[in-house]
């Protein structure tokens, strides 16, 4: 028991990176997220779990305003990134997304070379003064994506020629190339085989030393493996949020327990 408290203390040492309070999301008449409040910690992996349609992906997408692109979607409540309201009209969503990067379920490399995939973000955000600097950024990002050794000799090959797992790690490298503060991952391993999944999970573990990582996953074992904090969503509500070890050994809410033990879908 004491050990568990110890973990709790270590993880709460991290500062709050994203603070959401009273967040509501409507898609037309559908109330998708109901009054969700949560503090997401920096340099920590937070996993969102829950059955399909519970709102976990929707909530993830509010964190970098991806829902802005959907006309019928209305978001209310406060989401603060380092204390700053990201829905403030003065905030430029494009700049925000450079700070809050995203990795999707299906690897989606641009139909360009490996190099250009990673260089794309730094170029549009003007992060490199010259080719040498850009080369450095690309190499650093590919190293952080744990794929450098596999692609360093063929940077000009088409990214689409890589395997699924390599493509996903390339997408992660692309996301970290702009030096984001937060990395959102929407089921990043669901299209990957177990080996590629393990590689991405190992990468997530490395990334959280540097970034605030939020991952949506359907695999509870994956949530248990990679995250320090877990949030369980059900029917648009945030039912329970706490240390991953607590959620998986001794959840408080019966709905959480039913879900993680495979009693409700």
């Amino acid at each position: 028991m004491n050990d568990m408290r110890l973990t709790q203390e270590t993880s709460t040492d991290q500062q709050t990176k994203i603070s959401a309070s009273g967040v509501q999301v409507h898609y037309g008449d559908t109330h998708a997220i109901k009054d969700v409040s949560v503090e997401i910690l920096d340099k920590t992996v937070t996993a969102f779990i829950g059955p399909s349609g519970c709102g976990k992906s929707t909530f993830l997408r509010t964190l970098n305003r991806m829902n802005d692109t959907i006309d019928i979607c209305r978001v209310s409540g406060d989401i603060l990134l380092d204390g700053e309201d990201i829905y403030d009209p003065r905030i430029d969503p494009v700049q925000l997304r450079a700070r809050v990067g995203m990795v999707f379920q299906k690897p989606n490399p641009f139909p360009k070379s490996i190099y250009d995939n990673v260089a794309y973000g730094p170029r549009i955000h003007g992060l490199a003064k010259n080719k040498v600097e850009l080369d450095e950024i690309v190499e650093k990002a590919l190293r952080r994506g744990a794929i450098w050794d596999e692609v360093k000799d063929r940077l000009n090959d088409a990214a689409t020629g890589l395997s699924g797992g390599q493509q996903q790690r390339l997408c992660i490298a692309r996301a970290v190339a702009t030096e984001p503060e937060v990395l959102l991952m929407d089921e990043p391993c669901s299209a990957l085989d177990p080996i590629a999944t393990a590689q991405v999970e190992e990468l997530i573990y490395d990334l959280c030393k540097r970034y605030c990582v939020v991952i949506v996953t359907h695999s509870m074992q994956q949530a248990a493996r990679v995250s320090q904090k877990t949030a369980f969503f059900h029917l648009g509500n945030l039912v329970e949020y706490g240390d991953t070890t607590t959620i998986f050994t001794k959840p408080e809410d019966p709905r959480t327990e039913s879900y993680i033990t495979g009693r409700i879908g």
């Binding site: 050994t249 033990t261 495979g262 009693r263 879908g265």
Partner: protein
């Protein structure tokens, strides 16, 4: 307690099967204590031999339960209450196996004591002690099946009485040994029986604690007051003089 079924019905079947084995093992261990005490009581060498022979089956059941638990952990990745249940099953099986060993040991010593019939009258308190522990085990297993924290807590409390009864026995045997050195050998055997029964009580307590862990996720933290002071009290023989 989560009364809902798993979506995967094979998971429920596995959990039920492993718990059925725990109950079977519990029943065998209860019978073992009862018969060991009875063989002591009635100087029944055959029954004592039977108790010793039956211990093998108890040991094999523990191995089976551990194999089933390993399979469950590997194939079903249990979490929350399911995880606590599987962990407790491993622990309870180990507790039961130990209790069975102590019971077997009691039967063994009964056979030896048969050679010295005159001491049997000195073993009155042992029968009471064995009876109490057997009842505690029965209640602990009931608490386990019914997931009843209240009964489990009562069992834990009752172990204090067992500790006290053992201390009493310890002192009693000491007086016999002081009276006449010829009593030392039989009284050493009697004392080992008493000590073993007291240890059974500790294992029963551990089973009761597992019940609390399964239901609440907490382990009882409150340090129980130690009623058996025989190990700490160097002056115990002086007190008796």
């Amino acid at each position: 307690m989560n009364e809902q079924q798993h979506i995967l019905s094979a998971f429920d079947r596995d959990l039920e099967a492993i718990q059925a084995h725990i109950m079977k093992m519990g029943g065998m261990v209860e019978a073992s204590i009862l018969d060991a005490a009875k063989s002591f009581d009635t100087r029944d060498v055959e029954l004592a031999a039977d108790v010793r022979a039956r211990d093998k089956a108890i040991d094999q059941l523990e191995i089976l339960i551990n194999d089933e638990a390993a399979k469950l952990l590997a194939l079903r990745s249990p979490t929350a209450i399911d995880l606590r249940l599987v962990l407790s099953v491993i622990k309870v099986a180990s507790n039961l196996e130990r209790i069975g060993d102590y019971s077997k040991n009691m039967a063994k010593r009964t056979t030896v004591l048969m050679e010295m019939p005159h001491v049997f009258d000195k073993g009155q308190g042992l029968r009471r002690l064995a009876r109490e522990v057997e009842l505690m085990l029965k209640d602990a297993l009931d608490a386990y099946v019914q997931r009843d924290v209240k009964i489990a807590e009562e069992v834990i409390q009752r172990d204090r009485d067992v500790d006290q009864m053992y201390s009493g026995q310890f002192r009693e045997f000491l007086t016999y040994m002081m009276e006449d050195p010829r009593n030392i050998t039989p009284c050493m055997h009697l004392h080992f029986i008493a000590k073993n029964i007291e240890r059974m009580g500790d294992h029963v307590t551990s089973i009761a604690e597992q019940v609390i862990y399964i239901v609440t996720g907490d382990r009882p933290t409150e340090e129980r007051e130690k009623k058996d002071k025989t190990s700490a009290d160097a002056n115990i023989s002086l007190d008796l003089e």
